[in-house]
Amino acid sequence: MNGHDESRLDSIAVLAIGALPAAEARELEAHIASCSICQAEYAEFREAVDALALSAEATPEEFGGARCDLLKERVMNVVRTDAARANPAGEANVVSLEARRARTPWWIPAIAAAAVVIAAVSTWNAAVLRTRTDDLGHQVALLQAQVNTQESSANEARAQLALEQSHLADLVAPDAARFPISSGVVVRGDGRIVVALRRLPPPPSGKTYQAWILHRGAKAMTPSITFSPDPSGLALIELPGSAAGITTIAVSVEPIGGSKAPTSKPLFVRSLS
């Protein structure tokens, strides 16, 4: 395993572009972690691959100005609303995640969540969550090799893994509040809200689904994210921002790019109380 093997170099290039099957990748990553020649080769390829992503950068002609503005406005509306609600130092979100990490080693809740998910989820979302679980297992293996090489380079992926784990944990957490709707469930837990919808038809041409939130004391719904179901009709979305003060969730069909206020009768309006 530890000796350098020239025959692996082609596979290292395949790994760098993310085209190596998972089992082969795990074996090769373990080798890379212990072989300086292969590490250097992999690093060289990763530079090229990082740059490769830039070739896809959209030109202005490839993205209409109006839609570009709508997309930005939608994202910035969510961000500004969340920023306004955050404390000035913005410590709540960061501390929450750090505290969660500090309590236990990062890989323990990931593995625990995977086991809990497999046991607890209902039939209709089991396939998707199982895929997530497989991803988590794969991530764990990747991170293990990475941590062996350099702890600092593992931080980014570790944080993402923790987030994915916490996202799944929201759905199955025993202390999460669940609010059934006709086509799924709204789950509030750990300061966040996850909406899971099943048998959702594709939105009509030129339309998309959009979530709406109502804050306590507010008279009008605030636009949240837009989304589309996967081909099986499943949509699993985490609403951005804190769940604090949100009293009602709704979803409606809106024009592509989203709307500032609902323009169609909502699929559902669910009070979180």
């Binding site: 395949v14 790994l15 993310g18 390829f45 530079e47 740059a51 895929t131 837009t226």
Partner: protein, 176 residues
């Protein structure tokens, strides 16, 4: 601490203005990768939104270094999730972050605008460019690339390696 590091630090402090700078700087990259991988504008918009809201909600995931490369990796990984949910591709491996000696730094990366990289990519022989694009943007495994191209697996792997080496050389020459 470079400019991107400073901006991301401000995003961690819930600074919406800093986030807007990040958005303006990278949305074309995120949307472009999403569109190229998913193939339709609606999915690309949804993914772009999801990526940037993830950047906002989890800025601590950025541990420094090349911000554009990080955002591109986040985008590609999210797009791969969508592709895998559309069709049951065998799971390809996400690339690991082995420490890079003499890596392309942010300043060099900044000079590598999309058109220049696209030009370098298009300068590759088609037999090298196609398997790289199928793997990186198409989310196919090397076995699937070999089947689709009707080539032996070994040939596909050799061409990917030769293409990446050639691409890197070309990019280095273009930034001198």
């Amino acid at each position: 601490m470079d400019d991107a590091d400073r901006l991301m630090e401000r995003v961690r402090q819930r600074d919406a203005a800093a986030f807007e700078v990040i958005y303006d700087r990278y949305w074309r990259l995120v949307y472009g990768i999403a569109f190229k991988m998913l193939g339709d504008a609606n999915s690309a918009e949804d993914l772009t939104q999801a990526v940037f809201l993830k950047v906002w909600s989890a800025p601590q995931a950025f541990s420094g270094g090349n911000c554009a490369a990080w955002i591109a990796r986040v985008t590609r990984n999210r797009a791969l999730d969508v592709l895998r949910s559309r069709a049951s591709h065998p799971e390809g491996a996400m690339a690991i972050d082995v420490p890079v000696e003499g890596a392309l730094d942010e300043a060099v990366f900044a000079r590598l605008d999309g058109l220049r990289v696209r030009s370098a990519l298009e300068s590759l022989p088609p037999e090298q460019r196609q398997p790289i694009e199928l793997g990186f943007f198409g989310g196919l495994t090397h076995d699937e690339i070999a089947r689709q191209s009707a080539l032996p697996l070994g040939t596909v792997k050799t061409r990917i390696r030769a293409g990446l080496k050639r691409l890197r050389t070309s990019l280095e020459a273009s930034t001198v």
